[in-house]
């Protein structure tokens, strides 16, 4: 392999995919088709123009693309890139919303034995510079003017970048940079190149090997920073064999069929590499792309997907939306909802554990289904959902149970950037205290210190351009250290506590996971985010909460509480009372010495641009505690108010200051 260095020392490359897959994807021979592009070709030969691979809503219409359509486009993009000088081992950066053209570009690069480094659309230019610069990307794809501008801004710092290709030309008509080019122009180049190289695409597919890197998963980078002050994400590479084995392992527990539809919503910089891209290819299901990220609520209803993956915060947002709309609905509707929900909960307990429910309950639940659950699910666009996955952060047990009461089968996943997805809930074996059943007990274990360890064939092949750091995450026996704390219970389910370093010991000696408490708090429709604080130096547990602007604002309007902006709303005493009730609800579940005694509503929402969250929505705890050290100190003093002047960083890189005061409320004296 050319310029990319990989490390196959730790990953088990002896796995025979055909043997491993057993009866999954019976129509695929994975010895013959041992890379993703080869699987793609096999699928195209199988289905051609008969079956739809992708649909994308554009100009208000769902535009279908069959396997043959996509294959032809991928060929053109590939040949276009080759004619511009794409070589094996090249890295290509892509930034943009989910779109067939992103997927085509990635497959085109894979065929050329290069690798794609995806980026989140809300990256500011310093982060774009880091990913493109550190990966030494030779080409970049960008969706539109907004994304292209970020690259234009940093072009002088990116000596390796030869061309940037955009797929929406709006606003770019008069850009004169010679290194900019539209997707259509690239395909034209490919068309021209094909005349002199008619079989090159096929030959290049044949050259791929199963133990070459296929995809990059961007780690969230919770610890280190670059000199520009942006998080230093590691780029974990995965081989074709590993990523295919991973998906097959998942399908064994949770099967996908070619007749299913998958909603592509999660950023392709991250989990979508596994699901929509690899999973879509292996299972042959239809991958649907919403028109814009903002139109998801409408589009999801039009698609009615069988499978999708939302990050926890999106599930929570959808639940909060239903709650808020229920409050506005008629008494008649609420009456039925309140009568049938307890039955739904009862039924869910049977379904989740795979037991057979008594006849009377099944009958009543069926009535509830037609009267309440079905219309609600239809409103949410989740009527046909069979596999709803949650990733990123854990979803609180209340949220999970509520979804199941409605009959929405949401399952937890657990995985890491470096080692793929190792746990998932199979149907009929869902335990809301765990993050899923382990795919294979030999591949995962828990150390004496309580740290989750992994090895086996589903493992990365090194951080891109940083193999030194890769070596450090393994021990002598070849186990990968996740840095997460957890344990495996008697049913083979993994219980995830938290990051090892985030586990907190109270002065009383009790250990607890702040994230667990946070996920329970976040079930509330009025709370979007929160951070729970504790530790040996802290006399009691406290929380800093951000209220949900839409729902709390709605509540305030109905109860005639005037407010102007978010900071103003968050500091209203009535809103504090609301949050207090939620805190008291959660306190019921907690042991006395870890009950939340005080909390404060933060005057702003957590923001990834301020580096308070990772781009996938996890809290960057250490950073947060440093940044709000004064507020935290005030919480642990006797003061009831904290005056602040917080620095803010705008997306374009400018900085400013916001001055506010934050009230601290005591829950338990």
């Amino acid at each position: 392999m050319g310029k990319i260095e990989i490390d196959l020392k730790h990953v088990d490359t002896s796995l025979d995919l055909n043997e491993f897959k057993e009866d999954i994807c019976p129509d695929l021979d994975l010895n013959e088709n041992n890379t993703l592009p080869k699987v793609m070709r096999a699928r195209v030969r199988q289905w051609g123009g008969e079956k739809i691979w992708m649909t994308h809503k554009d100009f208000g219409i769902w535009q279908p693309y069959t396997w043959k359509d996509c294959y032809e486009r991928i060929e053109l993009v590939h040949l276009g890139l080759v004619s511009l000088g794409l070589e094996p081992g090249d890295v290509v950066g892509i930034i943009g919303d989910n779109d067939p053209r992103w997927f085509w570009a990635e497959f085109a690069v894979q065929v050329g034995r290069g690798i794609v480094a995806g980026m989140y659309t809300d990256y500011h230019y310093a982060e774009v510079k880091y990913v493109l610069g550190f990966s030494k990307a030779t080409f970049a794809f960008a969706k539109d003017q907004e994304m292209v501008d970020k690259i234009v801004h940093e072009k002088d710092n990116l000596p390796n970048l030869k061309k940037c290709i955009y797929w929406e030309s709006k606003g770019l008509w008069f850009y004169e940079q010679p290194w900019l080019m539209s997707y259509d122009e690239l395909e034209d180049l490919g068309r021209e190149y094909k005349k002199s190289h008619p079989t090159l695409f096929d030959e290049n597919i044949d050259k791929g090997q199963p133990d070459e890197p296929a995809v990059i998963m961007l780690s969230s980078g919770t610890t280190r920073m670059t000199e520009d002050g942006v998080p230093r994400s590691q780029m974990g590479q995965m081989t074709h064999r590993a990523v295919m084995a991973n998906l097959i392992g998942i399908f064994k527990l949770d099967a996908w069929y070619p007749t299913d539809r998958w909603l592509s919503y999660l950023s392709p910089a991250w989990g979508e590499q596994y699901f929509g891209l690899t999973g879509g290819l292996l299972s042959g299901l239809e991958v649907d792309f919403p028109e814009e990220p903002e139109t998801i609520n409408n589009d999801i209803r039009e698609i009615g997907p069988q499978a999708l993956l939302f990050p926890a915060r999106l599930w929570e947002a959808r639940i909060a939306e239903v709650f808020s709309r229920l409050k506005d609905s008629s008494r008649f509707k609420r009456f039925f909802y309140n009568r049938f929900l307890p039955l739904g909960y009862k039924m869910a307990d049977y379904v989740m554990t795979g037991k057979k429910a008594p006849l009377w309950l099944s009958i009543l639940n069926k009535i509830g289904y037609w009267l309440v659950f079905r219309p609600l699910r239809d409103q949410m666009g989740l009527l046909h959902l069979r596999h709803g996955y949650n990733a990123g952060a854990t979803l609180g047990p209340e949220s999970l149970r509520w979804l199941h009461a409605l009959g929405i089968p949401v399952k937890q996943l657990y995985g890491t950037t470096e080692a793929g997805i190792h746990c998932i809930h199979p149907d009929g074996d869902i335990d809301y205290e765990t993050v899923g059943k382990v795919l294979k007990p030999e591949w995962i274990t828990v150390s004496k210190e309580g740290e989750i360890l992994m090895r086996g064939p589903i493992l990365g092949c090194g951080y891109l351009n940083d193999l030194g750091a890769w070596e450090k995450v393994f021990d002598e026996e070849g186990w990968y250290h996740t840095g997460d704390a957890g344990h495996i219970n008697e049913n083979g389910h993994l219980i995830f506590y938290d990051r090892m370093k985030d586990m907190v010991t109270m002065p009383t000696g009790r250990k607890f996971s702040p994230q667990y408490v946070e996920s329970r708090l976040k079930f509330s429709e009025f709370i979007t985010d929160c951070i729970v604080l504790g530790g040996e130096d802290k006399a009691f547990v406290s929380a800093i909460v951000t209220v949900d602007y839409a729902n709390a604002g709605d509540w305030a309007e109905k109860h005639r509480v005037p407010y102007t902006t978010y900071p103003d709303l968050s500091q209203k005493s009535q809103i504090y009372d609301l949050v207090k009730e939620e805190v008291e609800r959660v306190n019921l579940y907690l042991a006395d010495d870890i009950k939340i005694k005080k909390f404060a509503n933060l005057h702003k929402e957590f923001d990834a641009d301020d580096a308070e969250l990772t781009r996938s929505g996890k809290i960057r705890r250490k950073f947060f505690e440093e940044r709000y050290a004064e507020l935290i100190a005030t919480i642990y003093s006797d003061a009831e108010k904290y005056e602040t002047e917080a620095p803010v960083k705008y997306r374009d890189g400018r900085t400013g200051k916001i001055r506010t005061s934050v009230t601290i409320k005591t829950v338990i004296e």
Binding site: F59, G60, N298
Partner: protein, 285 residues
């Protein structure tokens, strides 16, 4: 194969950035009076084929009156208005719109009970293509009427894409925020595929983000369609950034006309429009 191909749409055919300096609209000695109140006093100016022209001035300076005269809402007592060398002074507004002049309104003129999409489709109604529908075909929605409707919808979808209105396409206008309604208003004006766009305070009442977006759309429309834009605006930052030329009005007269850099420094403009503290107070009371 669906690809975004702007040139395929009738809207954009043969409409590259106009380089011509010739005037598309000429206003000569315009005079408008309501009883004893002289709203516009002998104002003359030209709009060139490739520019963004701003008209600024304090409240009551007569800016909107000028626009109302151009598109036929008001009948001026004196003066003439020429559009592409054709006199339109005496034409009623429903005859002026199909000529290719469309505008947005300061106080929004939308059907609040219809969806954003329906509002745009309604805005398409004065377009010459619609008159070819025929009564019977139109009443029963078949044949030509059916085809024309689909063509219209295609144009509207391109406008929706241009103004990033996908999210609000199916929403009823009265449920939209003010900034979103302004966007629908602009879209409705564009639905006519105008050759001259008159924008009456499109940025008023918007927050900073919405203003940025709106400025972007105005530039996009201007660049992509190569059509001249007349902008009546209060926000000086926006005006100075966007405009090729600026006309300043005060008490119904034109007191300055030049490029933004010059207008900014003109002492008459500063005292009339930007004003001193006392001047500002006088205006409010």
């Amino acid at each position: 194969m669906p690809i975004i191909d702007w040139t395929r749409i009738p809207l954009f055919q043969g409409r590259q950035k106009v380089e011509s300096d010739s005037a598309i609209l000429r206003v000569e000695d315009l005079y408008l009076r309501f009883g004893a109140l002289e709203a516009v006093k002998d104002v003359s100016f030209e709009v060139k084929g490739n520019e963004i022209l701003s008209i600024i001035g304090p409240n009551g300076a007569g800016k909107t009156c000028v626009l109302n005269c151009i598109n036929g809402f008001y009948r001026p007592q004196r003066g003439r208005i020429y559009f592409k060398d054709k006199e339109i002074t005496k034409l009623p507004s429903h005859r002026i719109a199909p000529l290719g002049i469309s505008r947005t309104f300061q106080n929004l003129a939308l059907y609040t009970g219809l969806t954003a999409l329906d509002n745009l489709m309604a805005g398409r109604h004065p377009h010459p293509a619609m008159s070819k529908e025929g009564v019977i075909s139109g009443a029963f929605y078949f044949g030509r009427a059916h085809r024309i409707e689909i063509e219209n919808r295609e144009v509207i979808e391109y406008i929706i894409d241009l103004l990033e209105m996908e999210e609000i396409r199916g929403k009823v206008v009265h449920s939209l925020s003010y900034g979103q309604r302004k966007k629908v208003e602009l879209g409705r004006a564009l639905a006519l595929e105008p050759e001259l766009l008159l924008l009456d305070e499109v940025m008023a009442g918007m927050n900073l983000d919405e203003k940025d977006d709106m400025a972007r759309y105005v530039i996009d429309v201007h660049e992509l369609w190569g059509i001249p834009v007349v902008l009546v605006e209060h926000d000086m930052g926006v005006v100075m950034d966007l405009s090729d030329r600026v006309i300043v009005m005060d008490w119904g007269t034109k007191i300055a006309e030049d490029v933004p850099e010059v207008v900014k420094k003109d002492p008459r403009v500063i005292s009339a429009y930007l004003g001193t503290a006392e001047a500002a107070e006088r205006r409010i009371t």
